[in-house]
Symmetry: C5
Subunit: 220 residues, 5 copies
């Protein structure tokens, strides 16, 4: 499980990021957000190069990762690690990561990743707590992510692991790893291999746990 | 019940799809989504022909089918099979299918089918699980589908079969087949025979189960 | 109670409808919806005449009626019958009716009636079932109708009769008749006699049942 | 308590109202809504004068009052009476009142008051009933009012008195009077004396009941 | 704990504020809102200087603070006090504060702070009461704040302290202070030091209480 560790060295690079390239829909005020990409040694490094600094559109796809400080596991790191194993990483697509305080901040961050950073798809990761109020907040957070998608015609894969899904912390962490990585792979498929999804239509595919599988055919 | 099997051969063709034709509202970035149509041997095959590849508007209506990997029955296949039996299939209208991971991804997919693929109506199929959280997610998914309709002035028929509607898997599958096919027929009627709906106004029509029928007239 | 029967002969005319006139906000693709109006023998018959067929704006107000096949009573027919008794019917205003499968399809249909058919106000009628899930769906349907109003700056009077409001079917039908007719009258008042509403402000007016009446004045 | 009575004479004038002045965002179809203003004998009477009839913008601020026939107390009348006691009434600002059937009709009415009547702030008053379904409807109504504000960048003060707040009708009426008047005053403050609100920040101010007051300071 | 006191003298200055500068998205009617800034003695005093009075864009970032009269603790004062301790206060950024009646008024106020006052980020503070209805209102308020963010592509940090989080008033006040100050610091970080957030991704960071900390790594 090198996932949780790798993002450490990766975060170290975020400090040397470029500002968000100006884009249609971006506010005309300068944006201070740091652009953090994990492919600093690849052709897409131009994303954080002088051109990006001058607000041009980079010529590599971007997949956004939005996660939170509130979550108790670095699911964003897992998703990034999974994407780095996908074909074309660094060549065909790069990764942009943003971390916000809590999952209710994910909705607008996803929209900014799409409209201001040019991400073509986003994976949004969060962990609702055990309290009753956390369930309401999770509902509000999900509605925000839903609206971000509809206002941008862009998919955002919501990866929420509810803290009360598992009592045992280690098992909860296992759910985090599995769900984050499977949805990161789904994001890749949706962009580049959509037939992978169509082939699994109605097959009871799950993330975080084993697949439920399909129902038997009804009696004729 | 050839429905569940037919989509197999059909899916095999999705790999040879064309990119989404560029349209007003479509993002200016190239879209990698595969266009899968079931009428590859018909006049509307132009939909996946060179013209479509060059981003032109096809001259046949399109009905969209959006389904999920999460669902445990291939309801999308049933809906497609039903539409293939409707008058004018392949001549007057073709079908575009997209599969997403879960039902919360249906909202934006329906909007993309309408705005990027030019579908005039969409059938969205999903299966909420048995857990309490699944009910909340279903509510969020429905709100996304609702918003997709209102933002596009286009109908999207939501076909959700809740896993807890039936205990017996075979009976649950029967509900899936009946509801998917009846709503596919409704989509056809709404486009081409709306009087079929008006004639049934207030008649207690149901999908998935038998009709409830109308109430008796009130006493004068 | 001729209401429930009259719509029958009325529906018979819907087959001879004209396409929706093209309007700002209408999609540029041809729309197959049938225009059904109950004033075929009046000056406003022009609404379904050659001019309308050529997509012009008709010179008579339109009041929209949106109802469902799911409902177990023809509330749309009641509302239409009530409007036919209002001053200026056929002269000052005509009626456009659309029937959709279920109440969750009402939101976008109301928006289409307003933006594509030019209705100045709409009465939306539906009947949520007895199941718990039906209550959630009713909430979603109401949110869609709410949004349709806010996006068009046009009132849509929601006429929902919950099947669990009354155990006795005959009494439930009585509620349907009363609520549908009173709200149809409200729609007429809102367009042409708003002072009728202001005069009843805070008077505990009800539809479906008798008025609750006003509270006593507080002690000085 | 002249409040509940005064609106009677006031309503009598609403019949002689002017049509809504045409404005950006207003629909291009003629709007029949009656403009009712309580300052017919003041300089702002121009609001209902020939100029307004010709669709010009009046040169006096407008505060909107939206209430319902469903409510069991004339809270709108109370709010209007309170505003008439505020400095500059009739000189600096006038009042526009609209009454709708129920509180779910308030959202779009508030938006129309802002966009079609030019109101700079609106007070929306309603009374949810005792039934469980009424609580859901109140939630939907509130969401509509929320959206009306966000789509217009204009405040709408929601004044809802839930019928189940008090068992005794007289006490319930007292709550209606207090809440309606205090929020009418808040609306005046937000437009002309915002420092009145800032001075009360975090002070546990309430409407309908006595203030809760501030918490004690935390231990250092 | 000088926080709760400091805002007093601060509020005294709000009366000498400037009108909101006119901006794209601002309504063309004059806006009477008072601009209150706490850096009247700093270079950013230009924000409330003659130029701002003439509706120009000020050349200093603005962080918005939106709070309520309903809350029982001056959380807005705490947030302002915390921001004053951040690097660049008065030089790089100033503060704009608005107080509204209740938390349901925060959504549109945040949007106005962003679109009419040019705030680049907003901290919205409120305190839902103990009643059941207050929980529903809090949900509605949160949805409004969520929408304000999505419609402006700007973050709004929601700082809600539910009155029922603590029985003891002093402890509740302590939660208010901690949560308000930590989120004020988060707002500063999001604008100027986003790497501070990324470094804490998935670390179980909390506001109002001590951090929950990260989960253990899953077994390999």
């Amino acid at each position: 499980m090198a996932g949780p560790r790798r993002p450490i060295s990766w975060r170290a690079r975020t400090y040397r990021g470029a500002p968000r390239p100006a884009r249609a829909g971006a506010r005309d005020l300068p944006v201070a957000h740091t652009l953090s990409t994990v492919c600093a040694r690849t052709p897409s490094a131009r994303a954080v190069g002088p051109r990006a600094r001058r607000g041009t559109i980079v010529d590599v796809d971007r997949i956004g990762i939005a996660d939170t400080m509130f979550a108790r596991y670095d699911m964003g790191g897992e998703a990034i690690d999974e994407l780095r194993k996908c074909p074309g990483y660094g060549e065909r697509f790069g990764i942009v990561r943003r971390t916000v305080p809590g999952f209710k901040d994910l909705g607008v961050e996803c929209k900014k990743l799409i409209e201001e950073d040019g991400c073509r798809i986003v994976v949004a990761l969060g962990m609702p707590g055990r309290a009753a109020i956390d369930q309401v907040c999770a509902h509000e957070a999900s509605q925000g992510i839903m609206l971000a998608q509809l206002l941008t015609n862009t998919h955002v894969l919501e990866v929420f692991v509810h803290e009360n899904e598992e009592e045992d912390p280690a098992r909860l962490a296992t759910v985090c790893v599995d769900r984050a990585r499977k949805h990161a792979r789904n994001a890749y498929w949706m962009l580049y291999e959509p037939e992978q999804l169509t082939q699994r239509a109605g097959q009871g595919v799950r993330q975080g746990y084993e697949d439920a599988g399909p129902l038997p055919s009804p009696p004729d």
